[in-house]
Symmetry: C2
Subunit: 339 residues, 2 copies
């Protein structure tokens, strides 16, 4: 269901003081989203904080069940618990919720949408639309054109996920550890299970009974739902690396129909939301340091898998706060107001 046509919309941001919250504001401003009233919501602890949007200063309000009167679009990014508790109140108040948490993603009644992949699903909502997991979004943007051309059977993916994927505090912790290390001071470890500076941690979200982490199982389950094809299999290893922003992924894709590297390059180049950066002779390939702050997902290292027929390797990097979170949610909102 599209939103009732208006010139401008009342927008609430839940989790306005978090890592994704700030990027919501940046992107709403950049894209000049038609906002009438902007309501910034957060926990009691953050209420009263001042945040600037365009040229106006807004005061963060405490999130309550009564926060959503008159709101058309509520962008949630305050963790699954808050989404579960407050999204129904927003829906009851008449808002469409676009939720960045994992709370509703696998609910049958909730569409899980990446606008470059399954835009049509956005209109099938019952008040809530789920924004997929960041690592999954970045991957499926790249998988979509390959699937349309050659039908994907299996994906093997290893991720290199940045600290800010775990929130603003986690990113700060990496920076603090770098400074403490440089000054010969002891390193504080709070946001992650272990020191992240000069380390990699093969553990994101909790462990499941099958030995995968929940993050890895999100890539498995969400890819099937977003792509609308239960036959696509995804085995993932998700790893935290000492990078501030942007997630990288090494992907092997097995397809029914052969996709040569040249064909893949052509498919990527024609697909929305993708930039091909694949000039090894100039040392040009996607890297998190240079993709941070960019809207598109960057693909490179495209090569035929020499170990299997109809298998392709590539490397994709996306800003997980933008395309992996805030931008994708706002693109969904744009879809809803476009019809």
């Amino acid at each position: 269901m599209a939103l009732a046509k208006k010139e401008k919309y009342n927008v609430a941001i839940v989790g306005a003081t978090g890592a994704v919250g700030q990027v919501f504001l940046d992107i709403l401003a950049e894209r000049d989203f038609p906002i009438n009233e902007l309501r910034l919501l957060a926990s009691k602890r953050s209420a009263g904080k001042k945040i600037k949007f365009k040229d106006t200063e807004y005061t963060v309000e405490e999130l309550t069940h009564d926060s959503f009167k008159g709101i058309d679009i509520a962008l949630f990014s305050a963790g699954g618990g808050r989404s579960k508790e407050f999204a129904p109140s927003a829906v009851k108040a008449g808002a469409v919720v676009i939720d960045n948490s994992s709370a509703f993603r696998m609910d049958k009644d909730v569409p899980l949408v990446v606008p470059e992949v399954n835009p049509e699903d956005a209109f099938k909502h019952n008040g809530i639309i789920a924004n997929p997991n960041c690592t999954t979004i970045i991957m499926v943007v790249a998988l979509k054109p390959l699937h349309d051309y050659g039908k994907i059977k299996r994906v093997i993916v290893s991720s290199y996920q940045s600290a800010s994927g775990a929130g603003a505090k986690a990113m700060q912790e990496l920076m603090d550890q770098a400074k403490a290390w440089s000054n010969g001071e002891p390193l504080k470890i709070e946001a992650f299970q272990h020191q992240i500076l000069f380390n990699v941690i093969p553990h994101i979200d909790v462990f499941m009974d099958n030995g995968y982490t929940r993050e890895e199982m999100k890539m498995y389950n969400e890819t099937k739902k977003i792509m609308g094809d239960d036959s696509i299999e995804v085995t993932a290893t998700c790893v935290r690396v000492p990078v501030l922003t942007a997630h990288s992924e090494a992907v092997t894709v097995e397809t029914e129909k052969k996709i040569t590297p040249d064909k893949a390059r052509e498919l990527f180049e024609q697909a929305p939301g993708i930039q091909v950066l694949d000039n090894p002779e100039k040392n040009e390939y996607p890297m998190p340091l240079f993709v941070s702050g960019k809207d598109d997902c960057y693909v490179g290292r495209i090569r035929e898998d020499i170990t299997k027929e109809n298998s392709l390797n590539f490397w994709v990097v996306g800003d997980q706060l933008r395309k992996g979170a805030a931008l994708n949610a706002i693109q969904i909102a744009e879809l809803l107001i476009s019809k």
Copy 2:
């Protein structure tokens, strides 16, 4: 051919002032290798430097074609160019060369040896034995028991390689970048193609025509040779990460015979050179920060690949200066003097 039995051996280290050179000395001392004369060799630029071994100070000598008189074992780690130029002189002088560079690895007449995998090959040398690529060594130590049990058909691996894999200067560059960043100073980029602090670089060694890097093709070619089985296929993505020491690898292994996670754990536990660290409920899994300085390769995240029959995922971390280089070379030397 084993070395002629002696009580103690004359040992030369070529590249004594490099990252691996220092670890050669550490490990020779730790393992109390039976050394009569120790000769430290390096480029003219480093000649004259003093290096302590056990309680004696040694003066680094300039590497020349006449450097090897009376030497029994020459440990080379000074780059492929120097190995190609000087290893034949060492052989001519009667030494057995154990070469850490890629210069001779794929030569038919040169055995490529990981003592836990193919110790018998060490004795088939004609004066030169090659030490495999660091990332490959760490992987094949873990692959060997799986292959013996279930016959490996295909390996898909993504690496997380530390800065010191590119040498002592590269590791220093990462530390210098951390300090410069902490002090708000500009970062110097010399050792790598791009900034490595807070970044990952999907590019190690040069690019080949097929789109893989030479590092990735080393994993393909060297695995076949070390395992003595040309049918094992390896597709790799090799990535530099901002870690000081120890390489990590996310590995998917497809086998002819099913290997359950429990069976794999049992096989790993019984295999030489491997420690299993796989207690997700305690947040215990191998990480470079904790494997640095260790001799064994650490395996964890062992789980059934839910996307394919007879496929297994695991994570392996090894200190690439030790098992991936100096330790492996010295283990080869120990083999040669053991018979």
